[in-house]
Symmetry: C2
Subunit: 332 residues, 2 copies
DNA sequence: AATCGCTAGGAAATCGATTGCCTAGACGCT
DNA sequence: AGCGTCTAGGCAATCGATTTCCTAGCGATT
C-alpha cells in the first residue's frame, strides 16, 4: 500500500530534472545515451509506472476505448469482445466494458461516463435483431458498430454477411446431392431469421430449385427444433436435408429425427448456424454449421476504430463472409 | 467532433470563477442557491462532462476497477463479471476488462497497465482448477479473487462452496428416495472434480451410505457422459440415480440412458452441476442442477473490493453456498 | 459609529507528466 | 584568441478540475 512513485522521484534519483526524465523514458529529446540509461535504471529500481491520468491530461490521448454491449453480454458479444481485445491489445489500448442490458437509460449513462473518461473511441455491439438507432450524434469520438449495425448509413458498422452464410450452407447441401431442402429457423420478426431464410431461398432459386416446404419460423431453441421435426415428419414432406437457422434448432431436430428412426445424414442431412462449440460437438452426429467469425468481426471493428482514431474514418456497412464448417451431419 | 467543453467555459458562461463552478457542480462550498443553479444550467447548456483524468489527478480516485480473467473470458467468468458490474455500477464505477488468456506475461502486462491507470482495485477471476499464485505482492491497490482463489490465505477470495453444492444434490436424491447413487465427473486432477466427489461421498457417509460405484472420472463433456452411461450399464451396476459433476456430463448420460431404454427419472434420476441454461433446458427431461450463483460471487467480490477500497479490507476465503434447482430429471 | 461575525465567491496552488523554449558549455574553425 | 555552432539538459507553462485559504461586503450588536 505504498503510494505511487512519481517521475520526479525517478528524476531525483537519476540526478536530472523531471523534464529530462520524461524525455529519457519516452525516447524523446536529445540526451546522452548514458543519461538515458541512468534514468531508465532509476525508474526500474523504483518500480516507476507513469500515471496515465496525468499523461492523458497533457496529451489528450487515453489509449482507451469503450465497448458498449446493448444486450447483456452473452454468447455473441463475447467473441466480438475477444477479437476487439486482440486487435486493440496489440496497440496497447485498454477496454472499458459497459453492459447496457437493453436499457436505453443505462446506455446513455454509460455513454456519458465514457465521454467523461475521454475514451479515444467506442465500439457498440449487441444481439442482432435489426439495425439500431445511432448511440449518439455529433459525438466527439469515433464509433464503430460491431455485429449489430447502425441505422445511420454514415456510421461504420461491421457485420456478418448472413445471406452469404446461408448460401454456403445450401450450396454445401446441394454439393452432397440433396435437392429437397427444408429450412427451420427463429422468429419471423427477427432480422437474422428472415435474412438467412431469404438467402436460402435465393440460393436455391439460382439453381432453379425451391424449398421443399415453406420456411418454418419458430424460436431459437432446441424445443422448437424438436417440434419442427415433428411437423416435418407428420406432414409427410419428402425432405432429404434441413438447413437450420441456429445450432440449437438443428440439435433439437437431430434428436427428434433420430428418435423417429431417421438416420443422419443418410436419410436427412443437417446444417446449423453459429458454429457454437457445445452444440455442434454435443449433437449426434456432430453438426455441420455456419461460422460467422465473430472474433474476426471484433478484430475488424477494432481495426476500423483505430483507423478512425488516427484520422481515417470508414463509413458504411462492412459485411464479412461466413465460413462453412463441415462435420458428420452432412458427411456422405 | 467538437472538442470538449471545460469547466472554465461553464464558469465563464455562468459569470463565476472556475473554482466556484466546481463547487456548484459538486455540491460543495457555500454558494447562493441561485448561483448554483446558474452554473448547473450553464453546464447543461454546454453539455459539460467533467474530464475524469483531471479529476482523478487531483483526487487520487479513479472510480475504476480492473478485472483480470486468467483464462479466456468464458462461461464461468461472464456471470462473475456481470455480478461485479452490477455491484460496481451502482457505485458509479467502471470496469477495465483484461483477458490474460492463461498467459503469465499478458497477466503481468495487464497488471502494470492497470496500475498505471491507477485503478482503485482489482478483481481477479478465472477458471477454477485450484488456488492460483497471488497476482502480485505489496500492490498499491486492493485485490479480490472471485471464483478462483489465491494461494495466499491473507488475500481475499470469494468462491463457491462446491462441497455444499454436492451435499445439496445428494440430499435431494436421498429425499426422493434414491439410495444407489453413482457419481460421474471431470478429470481427477481438476480441483472442482475432486472436491465435488468428496462432498458426495461425505454426504452419503453421514447417512451411513456409500456410492453405488467408485467415482467415474473423465472429462467435462457430453461425450464422456455418454461413455459413462455405457460403463454403468455394462457393468450391470444397480443404480437408481447419478449425480454428475457437470451439466454436460449429465446431458450425455441422459441421452445415452434414454437410448438404452431407461426412463428418467423413473429408473434413474439425474442431477447436474452448473445450472447452465442451454444444457438444463435442452436436456430431456429438463435437468435438475446445482447453481453456484456466479453472479452472486461477482457481486460479493465487488462489494468486498469496495469495502477494501474504503479502508475495510477483508481477508481469507469466503465460500458461498450453492442452490439446488429441481427439474424434471428428479421429479418423482 | 466602530467592531465583530458571516457569507459568497475569488485567487492560486496542486495533482503528475509532457514539451517548447532557452542556455551553459564544449568544440571547431579561422 | 575570438566567434559561431551544436548538444545536453534545465525551466516553466500546460492540460482540467479540485480545494484551501482569503477577502469583500453586508448586517447586527453595543
Amino acid at each position: 500500500m505504498d503510494r505511487a512513485v512519481t517521475i520526479s522521484q525517478v528524476a531525483a534519483l537519476a540526478g536530472v530534472s523531471t523534464g529530462t526524465a520524461s524525455k529519457a523514458l519516452n525516447g524523446r529529446g536529445a540526451l546522452r545515451p548514458e543519461t538515458r540509461l541512468r534514468v531508465q535504471q532509476a525508474a526500474e529500481q523504483l518500480g516507476f509506472v507513469a500515471n496515465a491520468a496525468a499523461r492523458s491530461l497533457q496529451t489528450g490521448r487515453t489509449y482507451t476505448v469503450g465497448m458498449i454491449t446493448t444486450d447483456s453480454i452473452g454468447r455473441f458479444s463475447i467473441p466480438v469482445l475477444l477479437g476487439a481485445e486482440d486487435a486493440l491489445g496489440a496497440g496497447q489500448m485498454s477496454i472499458f466494458l459497459c453492459d447496457a442490458r437493453d436499457d436505453p437509460i443505462r446506455e446513455q449513462y454509460y455513454l456519458r461516463t465514457l465521454l467523461s473518461r475521454k475514451v479515444d473511441g467506442i465500439i457498440v455491439t449487441g444481439r442482432r435483431t435489426q439495425a439500431r438507432a445511432p448511440i449518439g450524434v455529433g459525438l466527439p469520438v469515433p464509433v464503430v458498430y460491431a455485429f449489430i449495425s447502425s441505422a445511420d448509413p454514415q456510421d461504420c458498422s461491421v457485420v456478418p454477411d448472413e445471406a452469404d452464410g446461408s448460401r454456403r450452407a445450401v450450396q454445401h447441401l446441394l454439393a452432397i446431392g440433396r435437392r429437397r431442402i427444408a429450412h427451420v429457423t427463429g422468429p419471423e420478426h427477427h432480422h437474422s431469421a428472415t435474412i438467412r431464410a431469404q438467402g436460402a431461398v435465393d440460393t436455391l432459386a439460382a439453381e432453379g430449385l425451391r424449398l421443399a416446404t415453406p420456411t418454418l419460423y419458430g424460436e431459437w431453441s432446441e424445443a422448437w427444433g424438436r417440434q419442427a421435426a415433428g411437423i416435418l415428419l407428420s406432414t409427410g414432406a419428402d425432405v432429404d436435408a434441413v438447413f437450420c437457422g441456429s445450432d440449437q434448432i438443428a440439435r433439437g431436430l437431430a434428436e427428434a429425427l433420430t428418435k423417429a428412426g431417421k438416420v443422419i445424414p443418410r436419410d436427412i442431412a443437417l446444417v446449423g448456424f453459429d458454429n457454437w462449440d457445445v452444440m455442434v460437438d454435443g449433437c449426434q452426429p456432430a453438426l455441420t454449421s455456419v461460422d460467422m467469425d465473430l472474433e474476426g468481426i471484433g478484430r475488424t471493428a477494432a481495426e476500423r476504430l483505430l483507423a478512425a482514431i488516427n484520422g481515417s474514418p470508414a463509413h458504411g456497412q462492412h459485411a464479412r463472409p461466413c465460413r462453412l464448417v463441415p462435420r458428420a451431419s452432412t458427411a456422405v
